[in-house]
Symmetry: C2
Subunit: 201 residues, 2 copies
DNA sequence: GTCTATACTAGGATAGAC
DNA sequence: GTCTATCCTAGTATAGAC
């Protein structure tokens, strides 16, 4: 009897179309704002009628979810590529710079991943698992640097998201807060060194 | 001839109804998310049909705008009420605590005032003037404390909005980041003292 | 499997009767 | 000032053509 083909060309085509729709969704979200994303715009961009999109994604939120997962994967990937040296302050700065740049370079993605502004959207369990994985990878890197105290980690996330947030909200396209990342890490590093040496408060 | 009445009862009633609609809008925004605000929900809450709301606000964005202005006025007011002592670190902490608490106590308001997530919404010139006024009042207080350097102010806004943002996004209703405000201000204060004494970088 | 036509509902907005 | 009726856009479901 005939063997089944190794490659499923139909499935491959389906995946390619899904990817095409996702790319279009990112374009629309960047242009119109994340909440301004409409299936009609996406459909038009890929040359379909709106209902056809449902062959690939069950609902608009499923598109958001796929975008969310994609963002997580990209973030994980960049974490892997970080060129770390073993010098704590240097590596801390490298990591924070990567994070802030990641946020700033795509505000729509930042809004999707780190803010909760789409009514009713919550990442699926699978997508959220990716986010947890990314967070854990970051935690592991920080532990290597010597930052394991939860309070210190919370302070650091506040500092880096604050820099990203202000850059996006108040100086889009500029570098007014981006260029403060190095100084912020010096400040933070001096602070935690101070804390571990003696005074607890 | 008859003098015109001093009070315009009709206008007063109109203003009262406007205020009622605004209150309802805040309730809906808090319950459904800022972007989940619908005129229908607001109308139902005040006992009107949706089109009747247009007698009071030209458009949905006009409601957002009035909410924005209201938020600015409340923030200005709290700035006025701050009990400052003349001690720089103490006053800095008091002000930052006020800011973070203001943000955290109403995430919908925070989103409206400090994030730009409603597609197409921009505050009117009048409302934005209030925001500028609030910012300037804050700048004046910081100058009194001895923080006039723009870079230092940017660092401070990043730190405080970051604390607020993380608290709202990752621990709503809790105090995981709220309780870091004092420590953050110590860190920041030590840093700028360090900067002004000698090394520029 | 893929796409379209069609229709339904929610929501913002306008026109006109009362 | 408030209502009813209406229109447009958008998300979504279904049926059916190919």
């Amino acid at each position: 009897m005939l063997g089944e083909p190794i490659r499923d060309r139909r499935a491959e085509r389906h995946e390619r179309t899904k990817a095409e729709i996702l790319d279009a969704a990112w374009e629309v979200a960047r242009a119109e704002g994340l909440a301004g994303l409409t299936l009609r715009d996406v459909a038009r961009k890929v040359g379909m009628r709106p209902p056809s999109v449902y062959s690939y994604f069950d609902a608009k939120h499923a598109i958001y979810d796929a975008m969310y997962a994609q963002g997580c994967r990209e973030f994980l990937d960049r974490g892997t590529r970080l060129a770390l040296t073993g010098d704590p302050l240097r590596d801390l700065t490298t990591g924070s710079r990567m994070f802030v740049e990641f946020c700033v370079e795509d505000p729509a993605r930042y809004q999707l991943m780190f803010q909760r502004t789409i009514p009713g959207f919550e990442p699926s369990a699978e997508s959220y698992a990716l986010a947890v994985q990314a967070l854990e990878a970051m935690g592991a890197r920080l532990a290597q640097i010597g930052i394991a105290d939860p309070g210190a980690m919370d302070m650091l996330t506040a500092l880096t998201t604050g820099l990203a947030d202000q850059q996006i909200s108040n100086d889009p396209g500029g570098d007014r807060w981006l260029k403060l990342v190095d100084e912020a890490m010096e400040m933070f590093f001096a602070h935690i060194k101070n804390r571990t040496h003696g005074r607890t408060h």
